[in-house]
Amino acid sequence: MSLRRRRLTEKCFKIATALITWSSIAILGVLVFQILKEGMQWVDWQFITSLPSRKAEKAGIYTAIWGSFYLMITTMLFALPTGIGAAIFLEEYGGKSRLSRFIDVNVANLAGVPSIVYGLLGLAVFVNLFGFGRSVISGGLTLGLLVLPVIIITTRGAIRSVPKSIPQAAYALGAKKWQVIFFHTLPYALPGILTGVILSVSRAIGETAPLIIVGAAAYVAFVPESLLDEFTALPIQIFNWTSRPQEVFHSLSAGGIIILLSVMLTMNSVAIFFRHKTQRSRNG
């Protein structure tokens, strides 16, 4: 091939890769633009404090916001201690035993299970077997199982990044293993763990399919008062409005999306802030 043709191919290829890359960014731009254009007119205090309604002008996301809030509380009350506990066990006690390798593979497999399968698990176990019904606690525990692998994997990463000298120094002073873990390793790994936790909350809060399977109701006229009350959630409300044929409800769901994405964006910024802060304090 002549040099000129090779250079031409090179140029075309470079332009093609750049074009493709920037077009996925353009897609994000279109997505954000569409949502803001449609949804901004709805987002105000009344939208946040109104109950769902058949009339679009009166409809709001009050119950959905509280539903999501209680769901996240239940999810984290379950997933945080178990996830972090499992990660500590695997990193500090597991070693290279067959059991810990088995758990390792198992966690990786669980991370790849489609979320809807967790929904089926929640339906069979929490809703029917345990008799919790279509309630906040069923939804919360289902989401908890869903984010458990994420928490375990990120926490292990955070623990592994703790310099070996820190636990060694503590051991040298005669600390017991549990003292080393809880007073030295964990505090040092905390920012990394928090980042993972926040990211997993932001994943759980957008999950829709498992909640539909577990039986989140589309129309709930009250804020859940106990863990056994029925519930709705922000993504469920968005799904419900989008699947109605009337255009006005589509733009209403754009309003819901703005709220959902703002919550997620806030959490992600906090996570990034944590990451930066610890990187700086450790380097400096």
Partner: protein, 316 residues
């Protein structure tokens, strides 16, 4: 199960300090901490076993009423209408249509994006593009469903006037957008983990970037790139909300992207949106379909991860 308990006991015994010199002052609290942490770790195993047990149990109950051959090879899926028929192939074909469509979007685009990031983009461009791809990956699927319905489908309608309101094409495109960040980041890892000398050797011979990428980097990293594709496809199979909202709920065997179809995941959602009592045959179909879904994604994930790891070892 018994074998498993034995395993746990043995590893606990081996690691307890019963047999060590300082065992006179054995700290009971230390063992307590260890035991409770171990319990936490066990929950992940219990989860896996319960998934397998529950899917298996309901599927077996389902097969008592519907012959397994009718389920796996039947070409008509009408469980909610009389007379009922339970052939899962239309749902599988719907899922495959979405997988093919989304792969056609995401595989070339994802690979090219990773090449752009690895070879051409400067550090400042990278600092902009990478977080944006992460944002794309983090957007909830219900938002993508909204996007498909209100933006992509109307745009497609301008190109193909005969397209249905719910159609496989719109669903495929949006699922493609969703799995693109995953493909590009895995491919990026695959190529940037190659030894620098490979690339430098190519440049020293006077090759252009295009030639280095296509005849050195991509072929060498191919097993890991393929693994990335497999993992992404497995995600596309399990993808739910975007498909429910964009591709419709018409189980049929078609290769026409302009028609409404139904995937395995969207069938499960369709049943759940109605009021199905526990124990009925409609309830069990969900678990049977879920079992097919679970086995498919599990096999692909295991193959994908094996590929990814083995090759990693070879290079090192």
């Amino acid at each position: 199960m018994f074998h498993f308990l034995k395993l746990i006991m043995r590893s606990l015994l081996k690691r307890s300090n019963l047999f060590k010199a300082n065992s006179i002052k054995k700290d009971w609290f230390d063992s307590f901490v260890k035991g409770s942490l171990g319990l936490c770790a066990l929950i992940s195993i219990i989860t896996t076993f319960s998934i397998i047990f529950i899917l298996g149990k309901e599927t077996l109950l389902f097969f008592e009423q519907v012959p397994i051959g009718d389920f796996l090879f039947g070409t008509k899926w009408e469980p909610l209408l009389e007379p009922q028929s339970f052939g899962v192939l239309p749902l599988i074909s719907g899922t495959f249509l979405i997988v093919i469509g989304s792969s056609l979007v995401a595989i070339p685009a994802g690979l090219l994006t990773s090449i752009y990031l690895g070879e051409y983009a400067g550090p400042r461009t990278k600092a902009i593009v990478k977080p944006i791809l992460e944002i794309l990956a983090g957007i909830p699927t219900v938002v993508y469903g909204y996007f498909a319905l209100t933006v992509i489908t109307p745009m497609l309608k301008m190109i193909f006037p005969s397209i249905e309101v719910f159609n496989a094409l719109s669903g495929s495109i949006v699922v493609g957008i969703m799995i693109l960040p995953m493909i590009s980041s895995l491919c990026d890892d695959a190529m940037s983990s190659l030894p620098r000398s490979l690339k430098e050797g190519g440049y020293a011979m006077g090759a252009t970037s295009f030639e280095v990428v296509w005849s050195i980097l991509v072929p060498t990293a191919l097993p890991r790139i393929v693994a990335a594709f497999i993992l992404a496809i497995s995600r596309a199979i399990g993808e739910t909300m975007a498909v429910v909202m964009a591709a419709g709920a018409t189980p049929k065997m078609t290769m026409n992207f302009l028609e409404s179809i139904q995937t395995m995941t969207s069938y499960i959602v369709q049943v759940s949106l109605g009021d199905t009592p526990a124990g009925g045959v409609e309830y069990q179909t969900c678990f049977a379909v879920g079992a097919v879904l679970f086995v498919m994604t599990l096999v692909m994930n295991i193959i994908g991860r094996k590929f990814y790891k083995r090759f990693n070892l070879e290079i090192e």
